[in-house]
Subunit: 296 residues, 2 copies
């Protein structure tokens, strides 16, 4: 991962969109020690991949950013400002010569609750970075372990303060789960609820093929509404797709599994808890072709 | 809350303790947009209150910082560096004229996993700040609601990647729980596990008096080992104190409840889920007298 560019945003709302976007060196510190983003993980974010010079699925990402902000009772993001800044960043990283061979650019955009002392406007920025082109992992697949997320499947309804379903900066548990996967000789994680329902990955949405249908768990279970999974479902109009509860056992019964995310698209699961899984390379290719072709 | 001073720490380990402590203006941004502290809440912290010019219970805080770092698989903190920096900050904020009337100084110290791009040393800082003197709340007591923490009481053993028991920067759920308390007309929260065991507050340790004994929940339940609660138990040698599981119903049965934290000491609960509770002002005063008298 390489940082390519950074825009600090003025979220006070007093300046025009153009005057609110401030390019800075990505190595320049822009967050205060008193910012709630770094003190409490108190903020929200999105990451959009850049293809054809544009941030893909930007409207879906902006909608989800606003949803996450709502769940955290943060001010509603100024949509036009974020849209402009992310698009500008995507254009800037798409200039020939910016990316090295084997890299793919993405734009991460972050809004925190702002300074704990000043209690003024939120803090915001847009980071352009180069990640690994996912072509290889889409073909090779990924090794996954199933880990307990600890919460019941219904805590989003019973206990909204647990912030399930919000894409927050408080991702330490996701990082720890990925370290646990590494320890077990795997690359990634599928979380299940404390009461045995399949949820999502720490950075991806699950699609399982069961009885000829593509199934993803419902957002009511506190999983993030997947922008990439949604576009896969939209694009496969000839197949049967649906949102439904999956039990832990359904993972074993499924004849194919995918983890979907903005930066990697649809990645097939080749190993689950150490057991080899079949991959449908033809359908994976079709999914990623439709994802990569998206214009916006 | 007012920021009083800020030291940025060089945690590369290559410099001497003195050369690793860099005073900066607290308003100067010191965290990069690519730091894992702000991107993932991936870091640990402690807060020590300053009395008699010294950070109280510093050894306990340093031990707990190292414990949290271990749970997150962060590098072990360089104890002598953190000790020196926190002590120096405590001295600096204890100079006459720094604090206003009704303020009490505390030192917060933070270590993140460092930069996501560079993957070098952790990022660290020490912040001196002025909070509200707790004398009033110790007398008036606090209004508390009981909220579900979502996890079973034993996840620290079954699912260590959930990081229960670590004092991390990923505190968005704690903040959301405190907002829920406000919404319900209260000031603070006592978390219970999904299976009905009493845990702790989002920023405090619980002590309940039951059948003449002072009881606090065990750290095996994923609660933070309370430095303040431990000193209260140590100081009340003539009373019966113990660590034991408490059920939700025990909160109703208890004839007194306290929330203990570094910055406020022992604060009695005056209302629980809207119902008035008796407070033992004499014992509260005794607890805080012994806490405030600690020399280090």
């Amino acid at each position: 991962m390489r940082a390519l560019l950074l825009y600090r945003l003025d979220l006070s709302g007093s300046a025009s969109v153009d005057e609110s976007i401030h390019p800075v060196d990505p190595r320049t510190p822009i967050v205060r020690a008193t910012d709630l983003g770094v003190n409490r993980g108190d903020g929200v974010f999105e990451t959009a991949v850049v293809r054809h010079g544009r941030p893909q699925a930007l409207d879906s990402h902006l909608t989800r950013l606003a949803r996450s902000a709502g769940l955290l009772e943060l001010p509603a993001p100024r949509r036009e400002l974020w849209r402009t800044a992310v698009r500008r960043a995507a254009s800037a990283v798409s200039v020939p010569g910016v990316l090295h061979a084997g890299e793919l650019a993405s734009i991460k955009f972050v809004m925190t609750r702002g300074d704990e002392i000043d209690r003024g406007a939120p803090t915001g920025w847009v980071l352009g970075f180069a990640g690994t082109d996912p072509t290889a992992v889409r073909a090779a697949g990924t090794r996954v372990v199933v880990l307990d997320r600890g919460y019941r499947h219904d805590v989003m309804q019973t206990s909204p303060w647990l912030l399930q379903g919000a894409k927050t900066l408080a991702y330490a548990v996701n990082e720890a789960a990925l370290r646990e996967a590494t320890r077990r000789g795997a690359d990634d994680v599928i979380f299940v609820s404390g009461d045995g329902f399949v949820l999502e990955g720490p950075r991806s949405t699950l699609i399982a093929r069961l009885d000829g249908e593509l199934v993803t768990p419902p957002s009511e279970f506190g999983v993030l509404p997947g922008t990439t999974q949604a576009d896969v479902f939209d694009g496969l109009a000839d197949l049967s797709v649906r949102t439904a509860a999956l039990a832990r056992e359904d993972l074993d019964r499924a004849d194919a599994l995918w983890l979907c995310s903005s930066t990697r698209g649809a990645v097939p699961v080749r190993e689950l808890d150490g057991g080899e899984r079949t991959m449908d390379h033809a359908l994976t290719t079709r999914m990623n072709a439709l994802l990569d072709a998206r214009e916006d």
